[in-house]
């Protein structure tokens, strides 16, 4: 099962490598990982998604807690949470005929056109990962040139 784990860490160099190294060294699979500052200057939050059975997830959490620079680990999976991910996607727009169709879809998804040239369109979308996945799928026929996703971030209610 997919778990969403929020890790509060010291904002020090090398912390990310400790966490990434822990996963690599013990053979856990990171689905996504998002790092960012918090309201406190010396603390960062890392939200990561991991898949594995209960035993693996239990070990992941315990091993994270063992790191000295990790202040708190919370498994958000079973909690009521708000999940968001940010997507930037570049679509080929050489067939100008299709542009209006594209714009309509964007409207349905409440996404934003954030860049436009003769050759391509860059669209921004935020939402839960399922929505992002669905949007990417719908965009496929139009010719996806590039995709950039932030990875999941989440907060418990």
């Amino acid at each position: 099962m997919h778990h969403i784990i929020s890790v509060t860490v010291e904002n020090k160099f090398g912390v990310l490598s400790r966490i990434a190294g822990l996963f690599a060294g013990r053979g856990y699979n990171i689905g996504s990982l998002a790092v960012g500052p918090t309201e406190k200057e010396d603390i960062s939050t890392i939200v990561l998604t991991v898949s594995g059975d209960d035993k693996i997830i239990e070990q992941v959490i315990k091993q994270l807690n063992r790191l000295i620079d990790v202040i708190k680990v919370v498994d958000l999976t079973e909690k009521e949470i708000v999940k968001r991910e940010l997507l930037l996607i570049k679509i080929s727009a050489e067939h100008t005929t299709k542009r209006s169709e594209l714009f309509q879809i964007c409207e349905v998804f409440k996404s934003k056109i954030v860049g436009i040239t003769n050759k391509n369109v860059i669209i921004e979308l935020s939402g839960a990962p399922a929505k992002i996945d669905a949007f990417i799928n719908i965009m496929r026929p139009y010719g996806i040139l590039e995709v950039s996703r932030t990875g999941l971030i989440a907060l418990a209610r």
Binding site: V9, E10, G14, S17, R18, G21, L22, G25, K55, E58, Q59, K62, Q63, N65, R66, L67, I68, D69, V70, I71
Partner: protein, 562 residues
């Protein structure tokens, strides 16, 4: 608040932390630190290889319970420490490793003798630091000692760039010893609710067994372990790391369990209905094939490291806490038990398959006999450090340890080359004890250069070399599981070890016959000086019983006469 150089701050903190002895090897970036050591009243021991220094600091820590300190220069000096750090990490030994680093402005540029030692040691340290500002140095060093010795102990590395040791920074002589690290709060006190639940299981159990590991030694809980076992009349099996934690002559004692454990320890754990695991971690060398390990047993697991619990086996009652603290609480609730039937069954197993060997008057020397004589002549009071291999297992089986800090051996990593330098460190930490290094001929050659250190400081360790001219443990596997195809294990071209010792100005004797064994050991014990005893043993002697790797512990090869 005083202003001191980084190097001086290092010395100040070492003194404050009670460090009396460091094992270090100098180099370019370390010269400022060595210059400060020149004036310090801290004893400095120069090993002849940084690995030796790390193992010596480790042996010192294991024997004394204090934090061991080793120092290496940037680049190769630091990488030479790596095996020693990993060895300490696997056995939860408190160690502070100081490395020199190239100056901060050069870091990342592949400078001469630059390695990313914090990156390299990240998975084998409890924590590590790269000091970038001299004003952080005092706090970082204090944290390093605090982290190394508290909770589940372990090695901490502090990487100090050259400019940081030269720079002048603030030293606060009033800095509190109460270190607060918000991400590090080891839990000592066990949850009382969990302890009561455990006691319920203990009171109900018909065939309980105590499986105790190195945590008992680290926590200093041998007395509590004894009281628990006696109150509930449960047999006690120890891991390699715990040997000496329970009186070896007690009728509840089962000896070591696991791959080369006793028949009766393995039979008992496999037939038990309750395992009380104390400061142990269900290592694969103990459990054998997990699916068939103790099929009918419920498990209580006491450990200070939450991550050690339910890592390998599913635990019914986890108790996170310091072993001594938890056992003390537990003793308030447990009831007296007899377990007559169970202990009778165990007695039958003990009688069926005791540890045996046969030393004839004129036949080849048996290593087991030598170890028993060492035991007799030291009255079981020596500190024994071992290398890794068959000789290590025979020592575990035949030397009856009564103090867990008297057996010093690399269990988790199984590092050949550990024993000789570790014995050196143990002897320096415990000058009033006799220290004997029981070595194999393969392992001894991995850090044999430390004979020079031993000579220089007249460290009176006795090296009892069980010389089979084989990488015996690997040869044993090749014999039993690979049709005797002895690939790369024959060491017949070994050097003359007595001559090597003599070349270092260390006395040595070669022993080939039974009648020579006792006189030789006596001779070595006579004076407090280093000595090497080269015992030429039966070459193809095997360690039995043996649970083949990956097999169930009930599938022991018992061996018999060989």
């Amino acid at each position: 608040m005083t202003k001191l150089t980084g190097a001086q701050i290092l010395i100040k903190v070492l003194k404050q932390e009670g460090v009396e002895l460091v094992f270090g090897y100098p180099g370019g970036v370390l010269i400022p630190i060595y210059d400060a050591l020149y004036d310090a009243d801290i004893r400095h021991i120069l090993p002849r290889h940084e690995q030796g220094g790390a193992h010596a600091a480790d042996g010192y820590a294991r024997a004394t319970g204090k934090v061991g300190v080793c120092i290496g220069t940037s680049g190769p000096g630091a990488t030479n420490l790596v095996t020693g750090i990993a060895t300490a990490y696997m056995d939860s030994v408190p160690l502070v490793a100081i490395t020199g680093q190239v100056q901060t402005s050069l870091i990342g540029g592949d400078a001469f003798q630059e390695v990313d030692i914090t990156g390299i040691t990240r998975p084998i340290t409890k924590h590590n630091y790269l000091v970038k500002d001299v004003n952080d140095l005092q706090r970082i060093l204090k944290e390093a000692f605090h982290i190394a010795r508290t909770g589940r102990p372990g090695p901490v590395l502090v990487d100090i760039p050259k400019d940081v040791s030269v720079a002048v920074g603030i030293y606060n002589s009033k800095l509190s010893d109460n270190i607060e690290i918000r991400g590090y709060k080891p839990n000592y006190k066990g949850h009382i609710g969990q302890i009561k639940k455990a006691v319920e299981l203990i009171n109900k159990a018909k065939q309980p067994i105590i499986y105790a590991g190195g945590g008992v030694k680290i926590s200093g809980a041998t007395k509590e372990l004894y009281e628990l076992a006696k109150t509930i009349n449960a047999p006690v099996a120890l891991t390699l790391m715990a040997l000496g934690s329970f009186p070896p002559d007690d009728k509840l004692y089962l000896g070591m369990l696991g791959m080369h454990g006793t028949y009766y320890a393995n039979m008992s754990i496999n037939h038990s209905d309750l395992i009380i695991a104390i400061g142990a971690r269900f290592d694969d060398r103990v459990t054998g094939k997990l699916e068939e390990f103790a099929p009918n047993a419920q498990i209580i697991h006491i450990d200070i490291d939450p991550a050690a619990i339910s890592k390998n086996v599913k635990v019914d009652i986890p108790i996170v806490g310091d072993v001594k603290t938890v056992l003390t609480d537990m003793l308030n609730y447990v009831k007296e038990k007899e377990h007559k039937e169970w202990l009778k069954q165990i007695d039958v197993w003990k009688k069926q398959q005791p540890l045996t060997y046969n030393q004839t008057e004129s036949g080849p020397l048996k290593p087991q006999y030598i170890i028993e004589e060492i035991y007799n002549l030291t009255k079981g009071e020596a500190i024994i450090a071992t290398e890794v291999g068959q000789h290590q297992m025979w020592t575990a089986q035949y030397y009856k340890f009564t103090n867990p800090r008297h057996f010093i051996s690399s269990g988790g990593l199984g590092t050949m080359g550990f024993g000789l330098p570790a014995s050196m460190g143990a002897q320096l930490g415990c000058p009033d004890k006799r220290v004997i290094c029981i070595a194999g001929d393969g392992s001894l050659q991995m850090n044999i250069q430390e004979l020079a250190t031993i000579r220089e400081h007249n460290i009176p360790v006795i090296i009892a070399l069980l010389n089979n001219s084989y990488l015996g443990m690997v040869r044993q596997w090749q014999e039993l599981f690979f049709k005797k195809r002895y690939m790369a294990t024959d060491l017949v071209k070994n050097p003359n070890f007595t001559k090597i010792a003599n070349a270092y100005d260390i006395k040595a004797l070669k022993i080939t016959k039974k009648s020579e064994v006792v006189p030789a050991i006596k001779e070595a014990l006579k004076n407090k000086e280093p000595y090497l005893l080269d015992f030429i043993i039966n070459r193809e002697e095997n360690v039995f019983p043996m649970v083949p790797a990956g097999a169930a512990v009930s599938n022991m090869i018992l061996g018999g006469e060989n």
